[in-house]
Symmetry: C2
Subunit: 432 residues, 2 copies
């Protein structure tokens, strides 16, 4: 049995003019791989009807499945439904249920429904509607010369929800697919190549144990400062594939190889990031957290409060960008700032302890550093970040030398701040 | 004279399997736009020779220029040179100067040069070498059926250096390029479809004024709650194109149509976002800012401090997630919180005024709201966000009903908070 093949098609001038980084290709590629579908190509075309029609027709000639994103909005440059109708050789038709939904949507917001909005109720004749409960653009499924084409919006969260809830069940109903088990290890505190070096030999040894393990596909994904190690039970030319249990049996040796850096292990979509993991632990253990941020400017608080339910454990924080705020709101002594500089171990410790005292939390984490582009020195170059964590266990501290530009240094410092709270509490790694 | 058209081609299984986010497309798209080249499409293909040849041949039939990344490595799945030779109808030939360079490279690292490494010295006959001083993979330029194809490596920093230093000068030497004027309007506070409705008629009227304006290409880009209106002086089939001055002449009527929502107007790569615009204004006017955040949890501070140089004007803030922090750090009266609820006009005003007093800033902005998924009521549903801005002008306030899930509501509240500071200061719109 050969694998089902898919072609990806993203639509929009903004993707070709450099306005937007196309993340759909990678995300859809991952989903397809997890389902056991092979993506054989991807194309991006402009908001021109004839170019979209040509790309859809070409995709139909190459693959059994075509996943389209973008071009479902209400404006005149949104042409996906029109183009799909042409490629399928049918007309557009207005769907009363979608028109009603749009009317209700606008009425609920007290806004007038315009004729241009109703365009989003026009789908190719015979197409199946894909519900979009979180946006105005419904998706659709339509057959184009024997190829099943799914059209989804361009907004990432709408794509993600529609793919998971509407598209994947339909693909599974249409094709006989064999999902590929995965095992994902998330780590902060190790470089990609050093992780690879350490786990490589253990994986090579494991390959000897069974024909399925011999075929395991290993890859690394780095989103600085986090690294993910991913094992995938892809069948080899001999057809042998590892089971989910066989993959999980490698946990002890791979977690040992990753050492203290690993914080979570899981399957399929992978375990959650460090923020949700930490919030979950604090909720379970009933401990409260506060933050004191200089170089991250609110990013640590933002990452914690991004997690639903974080209000149960996060009291708040002080963004102490100016030294006066470090003094007044956190009680950092002026002479300490003057003698040691704002980016120093004593100041980081004083900020964490000051936030814990001022906000009355069980734990507090503080960041102070040089995000750049200016402000670096030979002694403390751009990327120097001091992080301290205070609790009844005492105060722990780490100096980091982070890599990259201002945005990277700040993002790195946020992830590290959460990881250092995790390490302060000696939480090891969680298995989901 | 019509514009030079380019097709992008990225090569590699890893881009289709979801392991890597393809950032080359956006980066090359930006470079092309700045040069006045129109990117008409992009494709990603697997490491299969015949598929690469087909994609190159198709690109050559569509565009005068094809920019290829990936597939120049030493392994058997690196097939770009072979495929380009096939597409150009020539043989591969070994380049002695490249072979020597590889030998020197390996010798300098004390590693043995393998035959497979010498593969990187084989280029299509007649191709021009593109130096790669920071990697082992040389690029090349070759003519394919009248289309000029540039092959570059897949490593981002090598692509960036080779594009800037090797490819762009050759493109400029070969083609007479005219950058295409653009006019970008950024707005917060209007929906995409309502913006379109209001500006559509004015643009249609403007099309009557000159053959160049008749051809202007209009598009809308929405990143909630921001909407961008973009005019591009693309030449039409008659060759007529608007000048930058003609586009700019539409400012008064388009800004009037966008109303108070528009905050910035600019050219080419577009004006900056609201955060950098606001920081720039505060630096110029010498005013300091503080933040008091509940539902945004640090996101407003994060957005401000993302701007280099923000330390000159941003003192810091209080993330007042728990009511105790609203009381203690911001001086919001307990009875006000109890009587009105944390999400209310009086509390938002008290937070802004409290932050201004506590941190000693000229201006302070406060957010309090219900980001969801829980916490909504009939009276104050999820998406209800109260924002207040305090300064010596007094305190202004707005209640928002934001759309979407927790992440969208929070991101929307951050953009709105900055926009409401902008409006509080009555800054109108800036033209860059």
């Amino acid at each position: 049995m050969s694998r089902v093949q898919a072609q990806l098609l993203t639509i929009g001038d903004e993707l070709l003019a450099g306005d937007i980084i196309d993340r759909h290709k990678a995300w859809l590629g991952q989903r397809c791989r997890a389902l056991g579908i092979e993506v054989v190509g991807a194309a991006t075309v402009r908001d021109r009807r004839e170019e979209i029609v040509a790309a859809m027709t070409q995709a139909a000639s190459r693959a059994q499945l075509c996943l389209v994103t973008g071009g479902l909005g209400p404006t005149t440059d949104d042409l996906t439904a029109q183009a799909a109708a042409s490629a399928a050789g049918v007309e557009l038709e207005r769907r009363p249920e979608l028109a009603e939904r749009l009317e209700a949507f606008f009425a609920s917001r007290g806004r007038a429904l315009l004729e241009t909005n109703l365009k989003q109720a026009d789908l190719p004749a015979g197409a199946e509607v894909l519900d979009n409960p979180i946006g105005t653009a419904a998706g659709f499924a339509v057959d184009i010369q024997g190829c099943l084409l799914f059209a989804m919006p361009g907004v990432p969260r709408e794509v993600h929800k529609m793919m998971r809830e509407q598209v994947e069940p339909r693909i599974s109903a249409r094709f006989a697919l064999t999902p590929v088990p995965r095992r994902v290890y998330r780590a902060i505190g190790r470089g990609e190549s050093s992780v690879q070096q350490d786990v490589h030999q253990r994986i090579e040894a494991a390959r000897q144990r069974s024909p399925g393990l011999a075929n395991v596909f290993v890859h690394y994904r780095a989103r600085y400062p986090e690294v993910q190690l991913i094992l995938e039970a892809t069948p080899g030319p001999d057809g042998a594939a590892a089971s989910a249990e066989e993959l999980a049996s490698l946990d002890p040796e791979l977690c040992a190889a990753l050492g203290r850096a690993v914080f979570a292990v899981g399957t399929q979509d992978g375990p959650a990031e460090i923020g949700p993991q930490l919030v979950r632990h604090l909720v379970e253990s009933g401990q409260t957290l506060a933050t004191a941020e200089s170089c991250t400017g609110g990013g640590v608080g933002e990452a914690i409060t991004a997690v639903p339910g974080s209000s149960a454990i996060y009291l708040g924080g002080v963004i102490a960008y100016a030294n006066t705020v470090k003094q007044r709101q956190l009680g950092v002594p002026a002479q300490l700032l003057e003698a040691q500089g704002a980016v120093s171990e004593p100041v980081a410790r004083a900020m964490a302890e000051g936030a814990r005292a001022a906000l009355g939390s069980d734990i507090a984490v503080a960041t102070t550093g040089i995000a750049g582009p200016g402000g670096g020195s030979e002694d403390k170059p751009v990327g120097t970040v001091d992080i301290a964590v205070a609790s009844e266990r005492g105060t722990t501290y780490k100096r980091l030398r982070l890599f990259g530009d201002r945005a990277q240094v700040r993002r790195g410092a946020v992830s590290w701040a959460l990881k250092l709270v995790w390490d302060h509490l000696e939480l090891g790694h969680r298995v989901d």
